[in-house]
């Protein structure tokens, strides 16, 4: 039976198991909008297309499934770019369907025309312009396959309006074969052996793990491996939750705002075992002085991440879960290999434990309400079981430092691109994936205003997301740099904000304000249990800084402490 392009799209989404899409209509989406109106897929209409992509991103990060968004042509499509770039940097599987003007009009500067395939080429894993309805089903199949396989990423499919109206025979392909795309899933056995030998002979090993652990679903294997050998673990921001934050071997996050123990362990290590981390500058500090005494093993599914920023001695290209399985097999089968382990690294473990004990994360307890304390309370009250989204800046770093992430996919944060305005729509997407979970966005007064319009979406779709606004009246992270490096000239960063309680109420959501430290628990408990989208405005000490801090361009051991 012949079907329209729009019907093909809908049936393909069903075939891919898509249960929720985030969307915004326009002239070019009309056939698609109409076809979706008759199906069971949940459609969450946002208030800005950037919010649609972030929401689908939050959905994907929390659930591990591909996030899907649909938008119109021209400005609808260009509004998705920040969302797409955010997902691309953090390797999040998304499929974005943009509509396009009629094929006959493409290139004519038609109304609401934008070359979105051209615009998104550098920030998608791949993208397509569908020129013929006969190609549509195959392209959708490929798009989902590319988005979720290998190193995941966003894929955009641009569908001209006439293609969505034209008819053709439809059968969703069961298989996909792209001759030019064959990711490597299994690490080279010889390289894995080399890596294991290097680990066995190391004296000061550190596991340095990133978002790849979470994407690969390898956190149990990682935990098993680290515990079997008693090797300390540090995470990148994207890696948090990949190893239990309350485990004894956990050093905390490394990098610019990493813990003293993590940064010192990296600096003094003789063997870095990196897994699914891409040696971002925020994690490494000055690259010349990163782990100066260490050999580096790097396991990653993406060969381009290996030896890009830091020279790697033992590269292993493959899916981390597979590689870790292989490594655990070697541990079990070749016990002689690790004779004397972990006693042989006993000195090192003592040293690491001392760093942890002498220089824990802390903050000064005088002055106003401390943002770090608020996050500690959120952790205690939720027992670490909430899904936490963050915005970007101080709120993000404090959340990373003071909330202990116990499980993968419980932290949703824009690590690579650092997109303000990400957290709130991402939290909405996560709440759509897990309606019964407690989803909290830890925000600042600056970043919450970058996608505050999505409060209408949360209210309309009854998604009871909680937003805790650490309100310091500044763009705090930039202000911190101005305080430390620009003689306290707070140019552009002191911004008055609206009354967030009234804003929440005006949207039909709940709003609270915490003025006194003693009210924190009571108000947060109420906010977390009220089953409504909720803003909690917390005026905090306005000039609190994030510490430790490695100044830009310095090496990891040069930390400013509290």
């Amino acid at each position: 039976m012949k079907k329209t392009g729009a019907q093909i799209l809908v049936e393909s989404l069903v075939a891919e198991g898509v249960d929720t899409v985030f969307c915004y209509p326009g002239g070019a989406t009309l056939y698609i909008t109409d076809a979706l109106g008759e199906c069971d897929i949940r459609q969450i209409v946002v208030r800005h297309e950037q919010g649609a992509v972030h929401a689908s991103d939050g959905y994907a990060r929390a659930s591990g499934k591909v996030g899907v968004s649909l938008v119109t042509s021209g400005p609808g499509a260009t509004n998705t770019v920040t969302g797409i770039a955010t997902a691309y940097m953090d390797s999040i599987p998304l499929v974005i369907f943009s509509s396009q003007v009629n094929t006959a009009l493409i290139g004519n500067d038609a109304f609401q025309e934008a070359d979105i395939v051209g615009i998104t080429r550098p920030c998608t894993k791949h993208n397509y312009l569908v020129k013929d309805v006969k190609d549509l089903a195959r392209i959708i199949k490929e798009a989902f396959h590319i988005a979720r396989s290998g190193r995941p990423g966003p894929v955009l499919v641009d569908i001209p309006k006439d293609v969505s109206a034209n008819m053709t025979d439809f059968k969703y392909p069961d298989k996909v074969h792209i001759r030019s795309y064959q990711p490597t899933y299994f690490g080279h056995p010889g390289q894995i052996q080399r890596a294991m030998r290097a680990i066995a002979s190391s004296k000061r090993p550190v596991l340095f793990t990133g978002g790849g652990i979470i994407l690969s679903g390898a956190s149990q294997e990682l935990t098993k491996f680290a515990e079997a050998l008693s090797i300390p673990v540090t995470n990148t921001l994207m890696g948090l939750g990949g190893f239990p934050g309350n485990n004894n071997l956990f050093l905390g996050m490394l990098g610019m705002h990493g813990t003293y123990a993590a940064n010192m362990a990296i600096t003094e290590s003789d063997l870095i075992i990196a897994m699914g981390a891409r040696f971002d500058d925020r994690a490494t500090g000055k690259t010349d002085e990163f782990a100066p005494h260490a050999k580096v093993i790097h396991i990653d599914i993406d060969p381009t991440s290996i030896s890009k920023n830091i020279k790697v001695d033992i590269p292993i290209v493959g899916d981390i879960k597979n590689v870790l399985h292989k490594m655990l097999d070697i541990l079990a089968e070749e016990k002689d290999f690790f004779k004397g382990f972990p006693e042989s690294i006993g000195e090192w473990m003592k040293k690491v434990a001392k760093w942890k004990k002498d220089f824990p994360l802390t903050y000064q307890k005088n002055g106003g309400l401390k943002p770090q304390y608020v996050i500690e309370r959120i952790y205690d009250l939720t027992k670490g079981k909430a899904i936490i989204a963050t915005e970007v800046g101080q709120n993000q770093m404090w959340a990373a430092q003071f909330y202990k992430f116990l499980k993968p996919r419980t932290l949703l944060t824009s690590g690579g691109l650092g997109t303000m305005g990400f957290g709130f729509p991402a939290a909405i997407g996560a709440q759509a994936a897990f309606p019964k979970s407690l989803v909290i966005d830890i925000a600042g007064d600056g970043s919450i205003q970058m996608n505050i319009q999505e409060l209408a979406t949360a209210v309309q779709h009854r998604l009871p997301v909680k937003v805790v606004i650490l309100n310091n009246g500044y763009l705090g992270m930039v202000r911190q740099w101005q305080e430390l490096f620009y003689e306290k000239r707070y140019t552009w960063t002191s911004l008055p904000c609206p009354d967030f309680v009234k804003v929440a109420e005006a949207y039909g959501a709940a709003g609270y304000r915490i003025d006194k430290e003693k009210d924190i628990d009571r108000v947060l408990k109420e906010a977390f249990s009220n089953n409504q989208p909720t803003f909690v405005d917390v005026p905090v000490d306005p000039e609190e800084c994030v510490y430790p801090m490695v100044p830009a361009g310095a090496s990891l051991k040069e930390m400013l402490l509290v």
Binding site: I178, H188, Q191, D302, P315, V317
Partner: protein, 175 residues
């Protein structure tokens, strides 16, 4: 250091832009780039001459391989290969110089492909050194115009550009 790379790609619209965008976006150099269809009309070959140290070249090769439309990347670094380029050059040619130009064209096994009362248009093919030598010889006569194709390259001997399947990327363990 100059490097020559061959890239087999799907013969689809937008592929050239993906490749050139990769180079510009990551700050890699393109000295020259030459694209055309292969025996299999669904595949094109791009011959790219680029510059950079070993680490940069490594990244270029990996990043090219990562593009979905790229079927295979061939790095000629450690292979014996031939590379040829064509240049069309329009030089001043009057009664006094015509004979000499003809002789030079013959020595370099080129061709005169267009003649006007005051100019010759010459076609020369060869490797970079040969073209450089020829251009140095005709430069004093006055070069009016010049276009070059950029080199195309091929491995010597029996080696061919196999196009059946993409190799598992980095499957040899060293990325």
């Amino acid at each position: 250091m100059k490097h020559t790379i061959s890239v087999l790609v799907e013969n689809e619209f937008g592929v050239l832009s993906r490749i050139s965008g990769l180079f510009s976006g990551r700050g890699f150099n393109i000295e020259s780039l030459c694209v055309a269809e292969t025996l299999d009309p669904t595949i094109s070959t791009m011959t790219i001459v680029t510059t950079g140290d070993d680490m940069i070249l490594e990244q270029i090769l990996k990043q090219l391989n990562k593009l979905i439309n790229v079927i295979k990347v061939i790095d000629f670094r450690d292979t014996d290969y031939v590379s040829r380029e064509m240049v069309l050059v329009k030089v001043n040619a009057d009664e006094k110089t015509r004979a000499e130009i003809l002789r030079m064209v013959e020595i370099f096994r080129g061709k005169i492909i267009d003649v006007s009362p005051r100019t010759y248009t010459i076609m020369i093919t060869g490797d970079e050194e040969k073209l450089k030598a020829f251009l140095a010889l005709v430069r004093p006569l006055g070069i009016k115009d010049l276009v070059r194709t950029g080199p195309v390259a091929m491995a010597r001997g029996d080696k061919t550009l196999k196009t059946k399947e993409k190799q598992p990327k980095g499957g040899n363990g060293d990325g």
